[in-house]
């Protein structure tokens, strides 16, 4: 119950203002198609440099939570999901809005998000310290395998092609080695003076997540969203409350599904809404109503999306393995303040850890309250032409990358990585494993070197890294995640081939 002692920290004027600003800003950003939660958090990182670690994380955490929920606004009112996580919300939410029940859909969406989100953060509160203590038993070989596991799990589960996902992870791990070697001081892969200090993680995150989006918007040409905002009629919030708690099956299936999916590293929230929607439909007595503006669809999808947020931080805060690409960006936000996840975080920086986690709990309530008021404005912002959004994101990326260290080199690195990533994505590669490789690379290398030294003085490298219960377990999980993904890829290819043959 240590977290209770740090609740007061959330309510200091600056912290609360950041929480409020992050929540309202996140709701608006989340509603904007093309601005994913990951990109929003990456663009916000430069604004946290001058803040205390806890306050910086409050801003990032609030933005993470509310961008996921904000995506529902454009999904319901415009039929354009703010993020892939909100696809399932569109199915019934927009139909409800077209039937003149937009306010009801929005209210249910934000209330379900808050319930799911609070449950998810409570899981985070109670699971994280236990796992963090468990992580104390980890030696260098285990931490090395954990870092590799982080890259392979996201590389295999988050990518359409297993080989390309793993290759993206390798590219990220290689990028992390650029610069001067920590132990020998040797130059590695410095082919341009801008790379002398290595690749700055924040500049890289901005480039990898923001620039491909900018180029994608350019690639659409002089394109208008073409969507009209559906006007929202008044609806009693009490009626929405009653309806939400009368749909306990949808709410609990959504919340549990989202929480479980959030805990699995790499799976992320993109599928949480769709899986919850599908499961709720299967168990519902009103299956036929799904897709025709049924409130259970909205409740299941949105409670799952936000229930995923808290648990996706459990592997991050305990084992340094982000549960989603956005959690990977948050890891970058932690590292720039010199804070390493795991037991160190809870033993040496409990104020930072608990203030951040508590702020996410309060943020869920604020998101619910303000979401209902901001929805109309957010929907209008979602209609802003993509040309404006692309130009804004580009300029923010340039200024954000420069502000990291006041170096043009970081701006060049950001632009090169971003443009490269756009083309790599078009060829089937994925940004998430590359980012994980870049972030976890130094952790993997430091433990590889440290483990190697211990091994040389004791049992030898092969025995040290490849034997022992925990090592074998982690290796087995790495191999299982690859095998599972290969199996899934082959299965989906077989179905595609069958469909092609039938067509």
């Amino acid at each position: 119950m240590e977290f209770i002692y740090y609740f007061g920290e959330v309510f200091t004027p600056l912290s609360f203002m950041l929480l409020l600003g992050g929540t309202i800003g996140g709701l608006i950003l989340g509603a904007t198609p093309g601005l994913s939660p990951t990109m929003a958090v990456a663009l916000l990182i430069p604004f946290t440099f001058q803040l205390e670690a806890a306050q910086g994380l409050i801003l990032l955490g609030a933005a993470y939570t509310s961008t996921v929920a904000g995506g529902a606004v454009s999904a319901i009112l415009l039929k354009i999901p703010g993020a892939p996580a909100n696809i399932a919300t569109t199915l019934d939410g927009h139909t409800m809005a077209k039937q003149g029940q937009g306010a009801r859909a929005l209210q249910l969406s934000f209330l379900a998000s808050a319930v799911g989100g609070i449950f998810g953060v409570l899981l985070l509160i109670f699971l994280t310290p236990v796992l963090a203590q468990w992580a104390l038993a980890f030696g260098p070989s285990h931490l090395f395998w954990l870092a590799i596991l982080g890259v392979t799990v996201i590389g295999t589960l988050d990518s359409a092609s297993v080989v390309k996902g793993l290759l993206s992870g390798c590219i990220g791990l290689w990028l992390a080695t650029i610069g001067f070697d920590d132990i020998m001081g040797a130059q590695r892969f410095i082919f341009h003076p801008a790379l002398g200090g290595g690749i700055n993680i924040i500049a890289a995150l901005i480039g990898l997540f923001a620039i491909p989006q900018v180029l994608t918007m350019f690639a659409k040409g002089r394109h208008n969203t073409g969507a009209e905002v559906i006007e929202v009629q008044r609806h009693s919030i009490m009626a929405a409350f009653k309806e939400l708690f009368s749909r306990t099956r949808a709410l609990s299936i959504g919340t549990l599904t989202g929480s479980i999916i959030g805990l699995i590293p790499g799976v992320g929230g993109q599928i949480a809404g769709l899986v919850a929607y599908d499961q709720t439909k299967k168990f519902s007595a009103e299956k036929d109503k799904f897709g025709t503006g049924h409130s259970e669809g909205v409740i299941a999808a949105e409670s799952a999306n936000n229930a995923m947020v808290g648990p996706s931080l459990v592997p991050l805060l305990t084992l340094s393995i982000p549960g989603s690409p956005t959690a990977a960006v948050l890891l970058g936000g932690l590292l720039i303040h010199g804070i390493f996840p795991g037991s160190d975080l809870f033993d040496n920086h409990p104020d930072v850890a608990w203030t951040f986690i508590n702020s996410m709990l309060i943020g869920q309530v604020l998101m619910c309250i303000f979401g209902l008021y901001v929805a109309g404005l957010a929907a209008r912002v979602a209609q802003v032409p993509q040309s404006v959004m692309a130009a804004i994101v580009l300029a923010l990326s340039v200024f954000g990358a420069y502000s990291v260290q006041g170096s043009m080199g970081d701006v060049y690195v950001m632009a090169c990585l971003g443009i490269g990533m756009f083309f790599l994505e078009r060829f089937g590669f994925s940004a998430a494993p590359l980012v994980l490789g870049l972030i976890l690379g130094p952790i993997a290398e430091a433990n590889f070197i440290q483990g190697g030294m211990i091994a040389d003085a004791t049992v030898g490298k092969a025995s040290y890294f490849m034997t022992g219960g925990l090592n074998l377990f982690l290796i087995a999980v790495v191999l299982a995640s690859i095998a599972y993904s290969v199996w899934m890829e082959l299965r989906s290819r077989r179905y595609t081939t069958k469909e092609e043959a039938q067509a």
Partner: protein, 151 residues
């Protein structure tokens, strides 16, 4: 996506993989390249596999860049490159941002180019945006960006 695009994309990655492997195994001191060697080996094997599949026409994942996409994107890409690699450092961040923002807005804005009202609106949006950026970065975050020959 056509096969040549797959071959080009994966070929480029394979070439980088070969270069990384070459450097990792030839540069000294060898101790500093132990971890890069490990990565490079996996990197080059996976890149070789991907390239081989592309050459045999078996690459399925990835939509590539269509001609329309490329034509649409090209002006924006050129402006981005000029903005980042030349204008920001030479003209100053705020001047370069104003020019790049206004040009990008003008090129990609779906509103008609023939109306004076639209051009005034674009000018106002640009001015407001740059003022907000100045307020955020120069005044709030105290980030001193290169001012160079203009501002």
């Amino acid at each position: 996506m056509n096969r040549s695009q797959h071959i080009f994309g994966s070929g480029l990655v394979f070439a980088v993989g070969l270069w990384v492997t070459w450097i990792s195994y030839t540069q000294q001191p060898a101790e500093a390249f132990l971890f890069p060697r490990l990565i490079a080996t996996v990197f080059v094997v996976l890149a070789g596999w991907t390239f081989g599949k592309a050459v045999m026409g078996l690459s399925k994942v990835g939509n590539g860049v269509t001609r329309t996409m490329f034509v649409n994107m090209l002006p924006g890409l050129i402006i981005t490159l000029v903005y980042v690699f030349w204008a920001a450092k030479t003209l100053g961040f705020y001047t370069a941002t104003t020019i790049a923002f206004f040009i990008l807005l003008s090129i990609y804005d779906p509103a008609p180019h023939s109306e004076v009202k639209i051009w005034i609106k674009r000018g106002i949006i640009t001015a407001v945006f740059v003022a907000v950026m100045y307020g955020l970065f120069a005044m709030l975050l105290n980030v001193y960006t290169p001012r160079e020959i203009l501002f």
